[in-house]
């Protein structure tokens, strides 16, 4: 299994993801400049966080129209694992690979804090080793992470089991006070119908080593470990 970490101008979590894949998970991985990216050379792909193209126009939208995303689209169709973290999630949404929209946080400010997210389904390539209902500690850091969808779309997602992560409180329940950005139904991450494309706002790569976690765990690694294949 070989993983590509695609680097757009303005990506800034690319080195962090690459560090976790190479140094922590000991995976075969490349940091790939978006212009040089050829999907056929890889078994999976990570779209890291950051501010691709400065988030000008709208977060993720310029990258979504880049040739590199055509490659990602093909990989998604082939059933290869695709994960978008934070800005990567925004890019997946903007490119139509995942449904809905990510709008400005309800508080109108950038929010960086550790949150708890509950795994809502084990039926995705990234959560199949995690029990449904497990709660993970990970940090968020974004200004545009409020997930919205129309009522039917949201209902469909829920019914199809495409909601992968929800923000929860200390009692493991989604609630208003556990929702850091005003997302509908406390949605923190979703997947496509084929369950191989996952996008989430929290940063698993920042929660992959116990020394970085206030809770001394490596919850994020449980998600990224799926790239082992």
């Amino acid at each position: 299994m070989k993983t590509a970490v695609v680097r757009f101008p303005g990506s800034n979590c690319d080195l962090d993801v690459f560090h976790v894949l190479k140094d922590v998970l000991k995976l075969e991985a490349d940091l790939v400049w978006h212009r040089d990216f050829a999907g056929e050379e890889y078994d999976s792909v990570v779209l890291p966080g950051g501010f691709s193209y400065g988030d000008y126009l709208r977060a993720g939208t310029i990258a979504a129209h880049s040739p590199a995303m055509e490659q990602v689209r093909v990989m998604a169709k082939e059933g290869k694992p695709v994960i978008g973290i934070c800005n990567g999630f925004q890019i997946l949404i903007e490119s139509g690979l995942l449904p809905g929209a990510l709008l400005r946080n309800e508080c109108l400010a950038f929010v960086c804090k550790w949150v708890k997210v509950r795994v809502e389904t084990s039926d995705t390539v990234f959560t199949r080793a995690i029990q449904k209902g497990a709660v993970l500690d990970m940090p968020i850091a974004h200004a545009e992470g409020r997930y919205v969808n129309d009522p039917e779309g949201l209902k469909e997602l829920d019914e199809n089991g495409q909601v992968v992560f929800r923000y929860v409180n200390n009692q493991s329940v989604p609630s208003e006070d556990s929702n850091p950005n005003g997302s509908m139904d406390c949605v923190a991450g979703i997947c496509n119908e084929d369950r191989n494309v996952v996008g989430l706002m929290p940063h698993p790569e920042r929660a992959s080593e116990p020394i970085l976690s206030p809770f001394s765990n490596s919850d994020g690694l449980r998600i990224l470990a799926a790239l082992r294949g």
């Binding site: 101008p9 962090d16 988030d55 960086c112 940090p139 970085l212």
Partner: protein, 739 residues
């Protein structure tokens, strides 16, 4: 009489009459308009350090870890195994006072480039901010926009904002203080210095296009703020963090080719400053063609091209066969222009439309004459001291202190900063007295903190600045680090006023005293003068932000402030004196206490050494420095962070019998730490510290109940942790909500 024909020029210059004569003498002829503009900028206070240069020489600069000391873009220290840390702090006070959002944002932009110039990757940002009271609408506007500017810019560049300090005091109402620090990591063998050593190298201007923004920004920063300052708004540059991110990555990649011989930030003074400083340091000269510069506006004059302070620009010198460098710049989509080459002439020669428009020695620009400044101690009117009033309800007093903006939780601010990116931040904002960043792949970390207390600095600049150095050092020590180097950012009023210059002189002496006492070298610094409001004639309280760098030799030494377990012992290191002058408690009660804490280097040194050894010995489970608000506030912060209670016996705290309980609890005596330790280690810890000649006492225990301070026969404070947390956490959000 030989008066330079200044009247004949249309330009307004800030040069004094004497400086004009001197410039003409050194040049041997009349400077033309462009040259005069260049001299004006380079001899401004901001670029030349003309009022501070001599005094700054008095700070200790050498140490076994110092690789690059003052005089370059940033200081560099050795942290072992060939790893180095570069760090630097700079002020952006004047632009932020006029246009807080862009002023603060571009402050970050500038400091990042200073780290990049050394071939180090920026890994952390810190901010030292001072505003007027949050009760004032103007101050709230400055505060909110400065924070937003830092957040929007810093977050986008992918450099975490890991620590900082914020102080509120009426003296900063018009002139807020915005000091931004950056630390970077690199390798000793690949460091670069911002100097042109090789004639024949190509000079390349990289990044943002040059426009008319920021022309004469530095001369604006070398004046006091007046009613007309609003008109200076065009002198504030506009930042573009996206381009900055590209500049960072492209520069680091280009440096890896080995073909880039030097890199220099284009900040204050623009191209003029970069060309003259780089060539003057290398003993070389330059020949540039101004028409080659990529511009964003039509019809720019040589004067504007040389003095523009447009952001996101950086200057490279490249070895003649450096085509691969250009390939990298193109990959990152960065504009660049080859503008000339390094020469052996020692002169800055600039051509425009085939004509030589500037021909001036580099050294003339970088070596301004030093004006005579007079220092005079201000007359202090001795205020009649009213008898100090005590608050009878000490629980309430503690809650009130916790909700004072200077003490209250700053989460409202650091929530807006990405403090995690880079996966290095082990101790995060609010966890400890300093931020701790690991060195990826090694069993070590660095601790970094910026600190100052302007109240102490105002009451006695010598003592106050010595205290600032000591507190910053204690802050990194409390996380398990050994302080290894510092850099500073001085913020003062108009140095032409003898009273202000006296403050500055005393400040440098006080810092030097404490640095020598603690054996910490100063590896760089920045000075901002003219932080003064012309309308009121009032200068800011003198304040020098001290950035302290500490090295944590093993990751298992990293120590946070949160209480860990009920039943553990609480140990106080150091003595508590009746020292409430300038304290937060005296601000709260309105008392005029006359005694600020006294800075005694030997005392600080012993406390610091004792705590370092105790942490190395594995005896310490939590550590916190005692500062604003004194012992009670420090204990409350540890309790809130750990979500645990405690019981402390006032009688066990070493103090003079004549001191009243509130004086013991809220005095801000220096050289103190609070440690917690397991029952098993308490005895060993006490004997280790006492063995070093430092006072230490077990003053209480951690509990699962309330926060309690008792004496033999009464309870002085009894508060549920939730009440303390509420007072501490809600204060700032409540205050900024008011519009």
């Amino acid at each position: 009489m030989n008066i330079p024909r200044l009247e004949a020029t249309r330009l307004k210059v800030n040069l004094t009459f004497d400086e004009l004569i001197e410039a003409r003498k050194r040049l041997g002829r009349e400077p033309n308009e462009v040259e005069l503009g260049m001299i004006d900028v380079m001899w401004s206070e901001h670029c030349s350090y003309k009022s501070s240069r001599r005094l700054l020489q008095k700070l200790p600069k050498s140490g076994k870890r110092v690789i690059v000391g003052p005089g370059y873009d940033s200081g560099v220290v050795d942290i072992g195994d060939g790893d180095v840390i570069a760090f630097k702090i700079e002020s952006h006070n004047h632009p932020s006072a006029i246009e807080p959002y862009n002023g603060a944002a571009t402050g970050i932009g500038g400091i990042i480039r200073d780290i990049l110039c050394m071939n180090c990757r920026p890994i952390g940002l810190l901010d030292s901010l001072r505003f007027g009271s949050l009760d004032s609408g103007h101050s709230r506007w400055l505060f909110n926009n400065v924070v937003r500017g830092i957040a929007d810019y810093g977050n986008c560049t992918g450099i975490p904002t890991v620590s900082g300090e914020i102080e509120f005091d009426e003296s900063f109402e018009t002139n807020c203080i915005v000091n931004v620090a950056c630390i970077g990591q690199g390798r000793a063998e690949t460091l670069t210095l911002g100097r042109m050593d090789n004639p024949g190298d190509i000079i390349v201007l990289v990044g943002g296009a040059t426009g008319r923004d920021g022309v004469h920004g530095v001369t604006f920063a070398s004046r006091v703020i007046t009613e007309e300052s609003e008109l200076d708004r065009p002198a504030v540059q506009i930042g573009d963090p996206f381009t900055k991110k590209l500049v960072i990555e492209a520069t680091l990649e280009a440096l890896r080719t080995g073909k880039v011989t030097a890199v220099k930030d284009l900040g204050g003074g623009g191209l003029t400053c970069a060309l003259s400083e780089m060539s003057s340091k290398g003993g070389t000269g330059v020949q540039v063609d101004l028409e080659k510069i990529h511009v964003r506006e039509e019809g720019m004059s040589p004067y504007e091209l040389l003095l523009s302070e447009s952001q996101e620009r950086i200057l490279f010198t490249v070895a003649p066969e450096g085509e691969e460098v250009f390939k990298i710049l193109r990959k990152w989509g960065l504009a660049y222009s080859v503008i000339g080459k390094v020469t052996a002439s020692g002169r800055i020669v600039a051509k425009f439309r085939g004509e030589v428009v500037v021909d001036i020695p580099s050294e003339l620009l970088t070596n301004s004459p030093i004006p005579r400044r007079i220092a005079r101690r201000p007359k202090t009117t001795r205020e009649k001291r009213a008898k100090a009033q005590s608050m009878s309800d000490l629980s309430q007093a503690l809650c009130n202190l916790l909700s004072m903006p200077n003490i209250a939780c700053k989460e409202y601010v650091y929530r807006q900063y990405d403090h995690e990116v880079g996966v290095r931040t082990i101790l995060k904002p609010g966890d400890a007295d300093a931020a701790v960043l690991r060195v990826i792949g090694a069993d070590k970390a660095v601790a970094v903190k910026v600190d100052c207390n302007s109240s102490y600095c105002f009451l006695d600049p010598y003592n106050g600045h010595a205290l600032a150095v000591a507190e910053a050092a204690r802050n990194v020590v409390a996380t398990g680090a050994v302080p290894i180097a510092m850099t500073d950012c001085c913020n003062f009023g108009n140095p032409e006023k003898p009273e202000v210059y006296w403050q500055f002189k005393e400040a440098i002496d006080g810092m030097g005293y404490m640095l020598r006492g603690l054996n910490i070298p100063c590896v760089g610094g920045n000075v901002s003068f003219y932080n003064e409001d012309e309308r009121t004639g009032r200068a800011v309280k003198p304040s020098t932000a001290i950035v302290m760098l500490g090295l944590i030799e093993r990751l298992n030494l990293v120590t946070s402030m949160a209480l860990k377990r009920a039943g553990e012992s609480i140990v106080l290191i150091g003595k508590t004196f009746r020292e409430l002058g300038g304290s937060q408690y005296s601000r709260l009660t309105g008392n005029q206490h006359s005694n600020p804490p006294r800075a005694v280097a030997s005392r600080e040194r012993s406390s610091i050494r004792a705590v370092i050894e105790a942490i190395r010995g594995g005896y310490v489970t939590a550590a916190h420095d005692c500062s604003e608000g004194g012992l009670a506030v420090a204990l409350a912060e540890m309790a809130i962070k750990g979500n645990l209670g405690l019981t402390v016996d006032l009688g066990a705290i070493p103090h003079k019998a004549s001191m009243k309980p509130d004086e013991v609890l809220f005095s801000e005596s220096s050289a103190r730490f609070i440690l917690t330790t397991t029952e098993e280690h308490a005895g060993k810890l006490l004997s280790l510290v006492r063995g070093r000649g430092v006072a230490a006492a077990k003053i209480g225990e951690v509990s699962t109940l309330d926060f309690k301070v008792v004496t033999e026969n009464e309870t002085l404070i009894c508060c549920p942790i939730e009440r303390l947390r509420n007072a501490w956490q809600t204060a700032i959000p409540e205050l900024v909500k008011v519009n």
